[in-house]
Symmetry: C2
Subunit: 432 residues, 2 copies
């Protein structure tokens, strides 16, 4: 069976093997993993999802991990070591050959969500005073490195970034020309401490293939490739969607239920607290409901319509914030658009509900009350859908995280209050 | 002022100019656009958002558009021509130089969401029978092309893809070695008709820098680069989030409100129809509510908790489907995880609500009813959160589009029915 596995996996991409292993019970997965040749196994480890990776690493000794890491680039090693408990991380690091361990240790210093945390050190840098012949020789020697990039970065004698030159200029240029004369001196770069989402947005905006990463003194320390950004954009989108609904931002179908619950349940309780506001409005009007039960029939409709229209606005605003489509100067634009939509949709839905209410009970007053409650609710939801996320952003709270709860609380409370308040007024004046 | 603009924009990236123009009133934006030098203006046009691009193109003659398109690659030209009305598209196409117009016309044949629709033709292909010297000469001549890719694709005499070779192998290889001997014969490729999301998932899974695109007979027709995929992944995530809430999938803050309304309002009406199911349940129990108004106070809480827990499950399932984390063999796993969560969260929230109900009215029966309704609701929402999207996928309906409506309808109807049904039973037996 073991031989079977080895031959079976030979032509399969490590990412696919990782997927396969993640579907097996952990003990069986580790058994299979041990039969994969070292080099391939190292790449499989790199490709595992966060939780599975932790489970695998937990079963391995520092020696075993160090042996695997010697097969992968420094940035992948740093990611794996960074996910280990502190003492095991040190132990693995000390078992790498010194050249590797120094470089990995350097990468480990950066926050995992920063440009430094996602960059790799597989770039080619030539010095500005070299000529083409010398640069070409350097590139020829650095065999493993220059497969990574079409761009060759140019540094001065202090290793500070001062230009960029394409691989083909070096390869087809006259041997004695100076790099300094041929390079493009304006080169975009990101700072090692920039947030990974900022870096991702630069790639999305400018379609770069790679970007150099520099320290404050412009020393070149790494590069980020477009291929590295794809994962980050997936993560970013997943996170935005999940935070809106009280998920961790990292949960997937393989996350153990106990871990998922730790994040989901507190949010449900917060939501319960928010829901109590709407429940309180209803409880205040209990006598009204007792006298006019038909009003209660509109509760789910008012809540659903206000919530839905508000979520529509919220999605556009939130996505605008994430994709940096929205700046403070766009607020007016977004605001007037959503307000118009709130009026128009509110009128269209409000009249529909009003007519339904009227036909259903033959009571035009009931229809009018439902219509007014619906319209005000939808206008409020449009306003809240723009203001709540932007307001949260202004006070530095992640708008994806809390906007939904604020929004539905506002629309529910307002919707029920108008509906029941108008109902109470009507009852009051009919009795008089 | 005009000279001002020209010098002002000289060192600004076309994507940033496009952003700036999109914030101006359209007539002013076009005025400014006309002052930008042709080459820069062409790239600005490429970078504009869909709606702004259409507005700009509408103001330009076929001659003007053709002049701009002569400055950009064929794939960008094809995207722009593809967005024009049929007759104007033909007119622009006929004004391009024949070499360009043939290539653009070929690209236009593919669906814009397919691999063919997103590929570019800026790849280098060498023939397998060439030697290194010949290949090198070919690359040296194709100046503009080989800036794009580190990989050089190898084709046979029928232009069929048969291998790949790195640029550096060609550049540093012995001049008389045959390409056939040095190339890697196993080369992954996508079909010209593959959906762009499938292509995007391949890049996310395997971290490719670029992928060749082939026809059914393996003829090489283009390449897709990782940089092209970043936009698609952003689009894909935006679309998934938007469809869930009845948005077009392409709306952003710059979309005119009338256009936004056309998509949003029908969905609100569908939601209204779905909400009527829950309203009907309540209307059936109107007498119960009249006798026991406290039950109505729980409506917003039951709806919000069931909906929230269901949306949590739904988000995980939907994202799993999009990111291809979930196959049919994972359903059991997802199902048991969510069911456990439904029970556990249902118990935790149900008991909390039960205790609140009991303390609030001093009525333990009310607490028990609310608790049971909440628990059943949350279990149902967990089941629905897995089953609804997978079921919709099975019958080929986009799960992002309709899952939310089905889910909240199920949880609302069930929650209200259990709450009011139990309430009615209690009333019935108390009277007896």
């Amino acid at each position: 069976m073991n031989n079977n596995h080895i031959s079976q996996y030979k032509n399969i991409h490590p990412a696919d093997i990782a997927d396969y292993l993640q579907n097996l019970p952990i003990s069986e997965a580790i058994q299979v993993f041990r039969d994969i040749p070292l080099k391939k196994a190292a790449w499989v480890l790199v490709e595992l999802e966060h939780d599975s990776k932790a489970a695998f690493l937990d079963q391995m000794s520092s020696d075993q991990i160090a042996a695997l890491l010697s097969e992968v680039p420094h940035d992948d090693s740093a990611d794996i070591i960074g996910s280990l408990p502190e003492d095991k991380a040190q132990s693995v690091l000390s078992r790498l050959v010194p050249a590797d361990s120094n470089k990995v240790a350097k990468l480990l210093k950066y926050d995992e969500n920063s440009a430094g945390g996602i960059m790799n050190d597989r770039f080619i840098a030539v010095e500005e005073d070299m000529n083409i012949q010398e640069a070409k020789q350097l590139i020829k020697v650095q065999k493993n490195r220059n497969e990574r990039s079409l761009y060759v970065y140019v540094v001065d004698s202090g290793h500070k970034l001062c230009g960029v030159i394409t691989l083909r200029t070096i390869l087809f240029g006259m041997p004695d020309r100076k790099i300094k004369k041929l390079m493009i001196p304006e080169v975009k770069a990101v700072s090692v401490n920039d947030d990974q989402e900022k870096v991702a947005r630069m790639f999305a905006q400018y379609h770069y293939k790679s970007l150099p990463v520099i320290k404050n003194d412009r020393r070149l320390v790494g590069i980020v490739d477009a291929t590295d950004i794809i994962d980050i954009i997936d993560q970013e989108a997943t996170e935005d969607m999940q935070l809106m609904f009280g998920l961790s931002g990292e949960e997937n179908i393989f996350t153990p239920w106990t871990k998922a619950m730790k994040k989901r349940l507190p949010w449900l309780y917060v939501k319960l607290l928010a829901g109590s506001a709407a429940a309180t409005v209803i409880s205040i009007f209990e006598p009204t409901i007792g006298q006019w039960t038909a009003l209660a029939v509109f509760f789910p409709i008012i809540a659903a319509q206000g919530g839905s229209a508000g979520m529509q606005t919220l999605m556009i605003t939130l996505r605008g914030i994430t994709l940096k489509q929205i700046g403070l100067h766009d607020v007016k634009k977004a605001f007037s658009k959503e307000l118009l939509l709130g009026f128009a949709d509110g009128l269209a839905v409000g009249v529909a509900i009003g007519v339904i209410g009227w036909l259903w009970k033959g009571d035009i007053i009931l229809g009018i009350i439902a219509c007014i409650a619906m319209m005000l609710n939808m206008i409020a939801s449009a306003l809240a859908g723009v203001m709540v996320p932007l307001g949260l952003k202004l006070i530095k709270v992640d708008p994806a995280l809390a906007s939904g709860i604020f929004l539905t609380t506002i629309t529910d409370v307002l919707g029920f209050f108008v509906l029941l308040g108008l109902g109470a007024l009507v009852i009051h004046f009919s009795i008089i």
